[in-house]
């Protein structure tokens, strides 16, 4: 029984540290966020952080990993009931755009600290993005097979277009403080992506 209590306590602290880290790092940047500050915000002693994580770096990586896990889980869950390629893309766009509202600190962090260095990105961040791209590519290919999407387009280029576009909108909203309506913006973005900007295709 003790163990369970301890595990709960552990879990709670573990989570508190992660949350605190995301908050602090979003505010001050990774390299200006002392572990002591994260610990204080989490309500634990400095040393305690090292009971749950190997290093400061590990805290950041774990926080990002978990966020992406949640994101992909949400997509996977929804895809059970959303079948159409068009609708699936729209759903991804919406969740992506909503991410900024779910946890602003995390959104800031994803737009900034995840890009620590070429090495960090190459080894770590890219893995997460690759999964996003992969997911979209598959949907696009299915759409192409079904004749819904143009078959002369590279599914990779389309996927990067979509991710890049939405990522940039989130980024821009964060740094200008703009507020948007995730659903409406998703609709606009998808309109451009699906139909292009050329007038009167008569």
């Amino acid at each position: 029984m003790k163990k369970t209590e301890e595990e709960l306590a552990a879990c709670e602290k573990y989570q508190r540290i992660l949350d605190a880290a995301v908050e602090v790092i979003a505010e001050r940047g990774y390299f200006k966020s002392p572990v002591s500050e994260i610990a204080k915000r989490a309500g634990v002693a400095d040393g305690t952080v090292y009971l749950y994580f190997k290093s400061k770096d590990d805290v950041l990586r774990t926080a990002i990993d978990r966020r992406f896990e949640t994101f992909y889980q949400q997509i996977a869950d929804a895809f059970v009931t959303i079948a159409g390629p068009r609708e699936q893309l729209e759903y991804i766009a919406q969740v992506h755009l909503e991410s900024y509202q779910v946890n602003r600190s995390m959104a800031v962090l994803l737009q900034t600290e995840m890009r620590q260095s070429a090495k960090f990105i190459a080894e770590f961040s890219h893995r997460h993005l690759a999964r996003y791209i992969q997911t979209v590519r598959e949907v696009v290919r299915r759409g192409q097979d079904m004749g819904i999407f143009r078959s002369d387009l590279s599914d990779g280029v389309v996927a990067h277009c979509m991710f890049g576009t939405i990522d940039e909108l989130v980024s821009s909203a964060i740094f200008t403080g703009r507020i948007y309506d995730a659903k409406a913006t998703a609709a606009q973005v998808m309109d451009v992506l699906l139909n292009g900007i050329t007038a009167t295709k008569a």
Copy 2:
């Protein structure tokens, strides 16, 4: 004559420090790039960096500023002879995609350090991006006025779509090591942007 030589020497060192900084920071990240390493790579003493720049931060800002200056200058020069909105967008896309080939270190740096912290971005980086967005928006509006582009689209959303898309392609290429043909890729991207991905608009 002496003076000119001295000026050249000064300019040369100034430039060497900037180049070294871009290289080192691209490799290791800003916070893991000691000034001493930048100085060594530039072939000067540590203190010499501070003869030409106010601080380490100043070196990075200056390098980025100069890169953007060049970029916008190139666009402005070309716009004298390229008139059509469609062609102008294509040209921007192409130069943007080429940027990665002009100076890979600088491209890495733009994808990483320029987004280092929320504050840095809010105060500094955003200024450069805003100019990009502004340029594209103007072209889009002109295209809309001329009936070339759909008038029901927000020029802002279109601009963010375009920047985000291309930026993401550059980023992806950098971190995966993929090589692409700037002109061909620009054509593909613009095809998606202009015509959308929906099939058979019959």
Copy 3:
């Protein structure tokens, strides 16, 4: 009990750092006393100094503050039983002259670093001296009211005379290495101050 031990440890280190700082700075001067040297003499790591003090400056200020606190406390305590203005002045003179024997390093420091820069003095040191002057002035005024001291003299000038005189004797003793008997010297100084140097006022 643990807590008390820890507090003692903390206090002990705090005190050790202060003592080391006073010693080192007295020997070498503030600007030629690296924190690393103070730490070494205190037997702690460099960084430890910053656990107890905000800055190198803070160490010096604290040391001086505490010294003056002790000084004024001693005066206040004694004034409970010493009532006569003449006797009170004599007591101040004596304690002032003894200060040099209590802690030579601190005496050196008061003669050097406390007057290191105009700014430092204006903002910090002057506060301590002002209190000295103020104390003496009050005694002098009381003596004037009681008819013991001449009423045609400015109490301010008298106070500065007294402080300046004794301070100079301490200073001179320190820098020449001269040894004096505090009580006897106090008596001589007060004789001059009280009676003047003019002969046979017949």
Copy 4:
């Protein structure tokens, strides 16, 4: 002839550097006064300072030396016509008090930077003060021999009393910004010194 011109130029620059150093050091303190700032204020290149002085330290020492030289010269000149011990002491007091008005920067410097460290004072500053004390002692002794001053007093103590008192008044005036009338203040100080503060010597 050339030589003379050069010597003049040299002398002028030499003096300009000294003046600039006194000014800058009085404003910012010795250790916060870069040689480059002194050079700039003197209107010469950094390197030029080293044509006239061995080191930064040498500039400060020379400036102080010259000031004292002037001071003692003025005393010596006046003593030719001022013969009485009492009058001689009054004259010294007056010149000492005036020093603060002659060159405020230099006065500040004498009250601060001259006390760099125990070593500096022991080796350098004290020499100047010793001469002051010596001068006063001789006058006092002569006064004692002539029966003008009490013979039971140590001439050394009297000399320190006088120097300390006046030095403190100058110091206090500098750091509080107080303005005084040198002649009147000299009279007051000498009144205390000569007659003491005890009332009704009936």
